[in-house]
Amino acid sequence: MTYRTILSTLVGIALFGTLAANANAAEYMIVDGTIPDSLTGKPGDAANGKKLAINRKKGNCLACHVMPIPEEQFHGEVGPDISDVGSHFTEAELRLRLVDPKVLNPDTIMPAFLKPGTHDVLKKFDGKTILGEQDIEDVIAYLMTLKGQYSQ
């Protein structure tokens, strides 16, 4: 075993350690109020995105927003009506708004869907994000289809 092998092994272990530590922490770059790059590199599935938007334990967008989903009762009114959101925002803008809206408005009630809570988090949710990276891409794909006014 040469020094060189040892060195590369050490570098390898260090590199692996870094990757392992980052496996749970989302990596993304914020540029001018947007996250330009897809979180996963895979295209979003709009049909699944709609399911996540309805699911009370997942996106639960309906808790606060009116959306063109007549089959679901009781749309919330805390946030703006987003039935036309695809006409107003780009994917990159929506991505930051879902990942961590507090970057844009620190006082917002809207949760960051890709950032774990930091204070008094229930054990079963500790270190966990509300949605996964692909979930967010799916929701974005769905939101981009929302073009046109809708009234409940």
């Binding site: 009781f74 805390v78 009630i109 949760p111 809570g117 204070h119 008094d120 229930l122 054990k123 509300i130």
Partner: protein, 258 residues
């Protein structure tokens, strides 16, 4: 000359307006009652249809029930329960003996263990909720009036800090909903000012009466935050903050909510 006249009368009107504004009493904060549907309001309005009176009656019975080694009931010292009129409106109250705040429920257990030499009641038990709602019901319609001066001040600050602190997996504070969006729908429910003036409250969801601290636990769990214990310092200080925020609002105990 003409212009001066206009200016003078405009200034006069403004002055009058300012006086009117100053004289108009501040509207009291809307309570959960104001946001409830008429059926729920009607249930609360009529003592005979208000299901919480099952517990108020338990409290009334306990009032004159002798318990503990001292051989006393509440009535032995306090006489008729009407002597409790107005008492609960100043709780939570600072206790020099404890060096911290006492809610009415803490005070009830203090009386039981120290004066009656009886066993403390469980926070969420029928006797405790019964006694707390019976005593608070004596003050129904009276304005909440807690003090946050002097010794109480740091506990108020702690309660306020708890209220403002984002917490849980959803990273939300009490303020995010109850100060920023009262009257606004979150899915099927209407967010309220989150006032304590109706507790203990009969919740249709619980199908029984429950304490304010039980409600705190539910709220905390909903935002995926670790709930604190009923009667804990954290929730007691939070109760002080909420009650002060509701100072002037009339006691509704026992309220009915969804």
């Amino acid at each position: 000359m003409k212009y001066t006249k206009y200016i003078t009368s405009a200034a006069g009107l403004l002055g009058l307006g300012a006086i009117l504004v100053a004289c108009t009493p501040a509207p009291t904060m809307k309570t959960g009652y104001d946001y409830a549907i008429p059926e729920t309001q009607a249930m609360q309005d009529d003592d005979f249809s208000n299901p919480a009176f099952v517990w108020v009656d338990i409290g009334e019975e306990q009032w004159s029930t002798v318990d503990g080694e001292a051989g006393k009931s509440c009535e032995s010292c306090h006489g008729d329960a009407s002597s409790m009129k107005g008492i609960s409106t100043s709780y939570p109250k600072y206790s020099a003996e404890d060096g911290k705040m006492r809610t009415l429920q803490h005070q009830i257990n203090y009386e039981r263990t120290e004066r009656m030499k009886a066993k403390a009641w469980k926070w969420e038990g029928d006797e405790m909720l019964g006694m707390a709602s019976f005593i608070k019901n004596q003050s129904k319609g009276m304005p909440l009036n807690v003090s946050i001066e002097g010794e109480a001040a740091p506990f108020y600050e702690a309660g306020k800090a708890f209220y403002m602190q984002r917490r849980g997996g959803l990273d939300m504070s009490c303020k995010n909903c109850h100060m920023d969006y009262p009257g606004v729908k979150i899915r099927a429910n209407v967010l309220t000012n989150g006032l304590p003036n109706g507790f203990p409250t009969y919740r249709l969801k619980w199908q029984k009466i429950g304490s304010l601290h039980r409600r705190f636990r539910g709220c905390n769990s909903n935002i995926r935050a670790t709930p604190y214990k009923q009667g804990s310092d954290e929730y007691t200080n939070l109760e002080l903050f909420l009650t002060h925020r509701a100072n002037g609002v009339a006691v509704e105990t026992p309220a009915v909510r969804n």
